[in-house]
């Protein structure tokens, strides 16, 4: 009996994962939290026999992983960072896949009255004017960069804000948890918000300004920089991501009857 158990433990320790065709892709938390990856990955596996291993990180870290050659491709949403990535020669090209949008979340009481805002920048000015508690991602992610650029478009300097502005330095879910605990305003992508389980007293207060649209792009890592990357598999995946099959799956994906992503890849 004893020997059998020890043997089982040893077998458990020594068994290695089965070898299959696989590649690593860094994606943003907002993409993964939306739940869309749970729809796409099984379909990719079925159609291409390819296992895509997702590293769910912020855009900042995703770009770093691509630069170091630790992943084969990245799927992110921050145009400036993407252009810098390409300019550095780390990626072969940039392919737009789809977009979703950002929304403003806040306490149901809405003390800054952003529900009546005329534009995204107007909403931010109202929050700053009321000095209402605001939670920022503060982690150099695509969402964080977007938020900072909106503040500066609104004519405000996020670095100069005092106590009401909280940069938590965490992912979308963790930041939403913080906002829920503090009853604070926060900017989130729509998908993460709809899938979030701890809404507490928060509600979606403002959305719809075209400036809040959020373009996702697929960038394969450049094999000239990192010869070991699986360029062929990355190309195969890109072909699938822009196919009609992907288009149907992405456009049909809804949470509580709300469409989240709009496919806009050019064939």
């Amino acid at each position: 009996m004893k020997r059998a158990i020890l043997g089982a433990v040893a077998a458990l320790a020594l068994s290695t994962a089965a070898l299959a065709e696989d590649m690593k892709m860094a994606v943003t938390t907002s993409f993964h939290n939306s739940g869309l990856s749970d729809i796409l990955l099984p379909a990719i596996k079925q159609d291409l026999g390819l296992e895509v291993q997702l590293l769910v990180v912020g855009t900042g870290q995703a770009i770093r992983l691509g630069e170091a050659g630790d992943v084969d491709a990245i799927l992110v949403h921050s145009r400036k960072a993407e252009d810098k990535f390409l300019a550095g020669g780390y990626g072969t090209h940039r392919r737009e896949i789809m977009y979703n949008d950002f929304v403003f979340i806040g306490p149901k009481s809405d003390e800054a009255a952003i529900a009546t805002a005329t534009a995204a920048t107007d909403a931010l000015q109202k929050i700053a004017g009321a000095k209402a508690p605001f939670v920022s991602r503060g982690d150099d992610s695509g969402t964080h960069k977007k938020e900072l650029s909106l503040w500066s478009t609104a004519g405000l300097d996020a670095a100069a804000f005092d106590g009401w502005y909280n940069a938590v330095g965490a992912g979308m879910g963790a930041a939403l948890n913080t906002a829920s605990g503090m009853n604070a305003y926060i900017m989130s992508d729509r998908a993460s918000w709809l899938n979030f389980g701890n809404k507490g007293d928060l509600a979606l207060l403002y959305s719809g300004d075209p400036v809040l649209f959020n373009q996702y792009a697929y960038l394969p890592v450049n094999p000239a920089k990192h010869p070991h990357v699986k360029t062929e598999l990355a190309a195969k995946l890109e072909g699938w991501l822009v196919s009609d099959k992907a288009k149907a799956l992405i456009n049909a994906y809804t949470i509580n009857g709300e469409t989240l992503f709009v496919f806009n890849a050019k064939p």
Binding site: K2, L12, L54, A68, G69, D70, G171, G173, N198, K199
Partner: protein, 234 residues
């Protein structure tokens, strides 16, 4: 508070239905941590014994450093291992980053100082009892270490179990070097962090209860296998 009850009942249903994902990540947790524990023990236990029987120049410094390293912050270990294993790092060619092997390496580094320190403390006491006998029998260093390791096995078990406890509950390092990839490097602790991030507190708590239960089970199993705390023995 309702989250706590939801968590408990969710944990119960996951266990009763033997949820496939749960079984998978639980087995992976066990595989990674037990492998790390085995290798770390092979390094740390003889090292602890060596520190007890041998007198050398920097022995005190070594012991002090070892004790200090017991408190190594896992996330720093994770980052250092990450930098070494990254494709642009010195060991990048092996392609080990974001694999269970990388997680095992990180856990070994975290628990070796802990196991070695506790082993050294326990064997030091034993050595003061055995010192005259073993010296008078004209034994070699190897023989002395072997004797200490065998006769001190109960205390060494405690050292190993402390290492197991630290490794199985660790999340900072394996999150960085493993990447929490579904069906590949996701283990119980990283899954808990993920569910917390999604605001799914009940699910996170359910996994937490299962993790605690697992730690208790493994400890009981090891005590039973080595027959400690039984009538007529201790």
């Amino acid at each position: 508070m309702t989250d706590l009850w939801d968590g408990l009942s969710r944990a119960f249903f996951l266990l009763v239905s033997l949820d496939a994902d749960l079984v998978e990540i639980t087995l992976r947790s066990l595989r990674v941590t037990l492998t790390a524990l085995l290798i770390a023990s092979l390094i740390a236990l003889p090292f602890g014994a060596l520190l007890a029987v041998r007198r050398f120049r920097f022995r005190r410094t070594t012991i002090a450093v070892l004790n200090a390293l017991m408190g190594l912050p896992p996330v720093v270990v994770g980052l250092i291992v990450y930098v070494f294993l990254s494709r642009s790092g010195p060991f990048g060619v092996f392609g080990l980053l974001f694999t269970p092997t990388a997680m095992i390496i990180a856990q070994i580094i975290i628990i070796v100082p802990l196991i070695a320190s506790i082993a050294h403390q326990a064997l030091r006491e034993l050595w003061s009892d055995y010192h005259d006998l073993l010296i008078s029998m004209n034994t070699t260093h190897i023989q002395r270490i072997q004797t200490l390791l065998w006769d001190g096995r109960r205390a060494l078990l405690t050292a190993a179990l402390a290492g197991f406890g630290r490794a199985i509950g660790e999340v900072g390092a394996i999150m960085v070097v493993g990447g929490n990839i579904d069906h590949h490097t996701r283990v119980l602790t990283t899954a808990i962090a993920l569910e917390t991030g999604k605001g799914e507190f009940a699910m996170a708590l359910a996994l937490g209860f299962i993790l605690i239960g697992l730690a208790i089970l493994v400890n009981i199993a090891i005590h039973w296998l080595t027959q400690t705390e039984r009538e007529g023995r201790w």
